[in-house]
């Protein structure tokens, strides 16, 4: 199982790497547009007083992965404490997150089942579209994305990042005299939802890779623990056996001495 997880993790890592060029380009495009557009007017940039907040919690469907899911869920719980006055809505991706919050009496607004068995971009879009639409309609004031970031095989870090409203990124890019077709405002308007789609996609990819890494580590630990346990138990068995042999020998010697007398 460790080997299986390792192979799957490598594939998941490749998927992250494959998404990188798109991320870079999208990022540059957005920065470029930020320079020529006033984002105040854009519905997905609207900062409102937070009365309703939606949390998207990305966990795995399966277990046997150590503290991978519970670390994230606990991080989310802490985050929920900060929004005690607001109306909170939970959207779960992955069975483990749903089970965790269900067991603790939270209501889950919607659950996306079976995303990881066939991970494709369309799934991310489906999740994102609903969020974007509801935010634009002012049905939620803030959307947070909670997932485990794949830092390395040994480390998956729970992350809570703000998905909406979009925080305009600072940073200058070399300015070129672009022709915009249609205008920069309309361009940004269509580009921003794609950015949201992509962020969800990235969260799914990171979680997926992180899950397999966690599973791999968990299985490795389990194998090592089992090895230690076997060693310890074998020693115990040997000790017991030795003790019983000694006892028997003493019996025999004692008997023999009694006969000799």
């Amino acid at each position: 199982m460790q080997m299986v997880a390792a192979a799957k993790m490598r594939r998941a890592q490749d998927a992250i790497a494959a998404a990188r060029p798109y991320a870079q380009r999208l990022d540059r495009l957005l920065k470029q547009l930020h320079q020529s557009v006033d984002t105040q007017e854009q519905p997905l940039f609207a900062e409102r007083a937070v009365q309703r907040v939606a949390l998207v919690v990305v966990t795995s469907d399966r277990g046997l992965c150590g503290g991978f899911n519970s670390n994230l869920c606990r991080r989310v719980q802490a985050e929920l404490g900060e929004y005690a006055d607001a109306e909170v809505e939970l959207i779960t991706v992955g069975r483990k997150g749903r089970d965790f919050f269900n067991a603790r009496g939270y209501t889950i607004a919607s659950h996306h089942a079976d995303v990881f068995s066939r991970l494709e971009f369309a799934r991310a879009t489906a999740i994102a579209q609903d969020l974007t639409r509801r935010f634009a309609a002012a049905e939620t004031d803030r959307v947070l994305l909670c997932y485990s970031e794949f830092v390395s095989v040994a480390a998956q870090v729970p992350v809570v990042s703000q998905l909406l409203p979009i925080v305009p990124e600072e940073g200058a890019v070399e300015a070129a005299d672009y022709t915009f077709e249609p205008g920069p405002e309309q361009l940004l308007e269509t580009l921003v939802p794609r950015q949201v789609n992509f962020q969800i996609w990235r969260a799914l990819l990171e979680s997926n890779a992180g899950f397999f890494a966690a599973q791999m580590t968990a299985m490795d630990n389990a194998t090592k623990n089992a090895g230690d346990l076997i060693e310890e138990l074998t020693r115990e068995v040997n000790k017991e056996r030795q003790a019983s042999i000694t006892l028997e020998l003493m019996d025999i010697i004692g008997g023999a001495e009694a006969v000799a007398q």
């Binding site: 798109y22 495009l29 077709e181």
Partner: protein, 146 residues
Amino acid sequence: MPMQLQIITAEREVFSGEVDALVAPGVAGQLGILPNHAPLMTVLEPGELLVRTGGDDSYLALSGGYLEVLGNQVIVLADAAEDVDEIDEARAQEALARAQERISSRETDIELEQAVASLRRAQVRVTVARRRRSTPHRSLSRQAQQ
């Protein structure tokens, strides 16, 4: 002098290499791009993307995206892009029929919008798939391997 073309989706890099000309489905109509085009940023509609390298034409089915031209380099950020060889025509036809059905039995405006969008994507894929039979072409993905 050829220009650099890069076609990327969120899932993978579809193509990267030198090409001579490009015809893309822009929002304001077909958009022809030759080397040394002025800097441009535009939205692409679902449609066919024609790539010309040497004397060979290749077609890709695009389902919308962006096109950026800067310094003899063209970047297509596609929502999805499929090479002629990657399209299963039968499946595309099926999707087309499904979308048509959904349009005729529409219930809400949002559904209609989605149905129209998937209809257009399906149409594009069918058109591109037919290219395989009617016109001589080369597969972009195969070209990239060479």
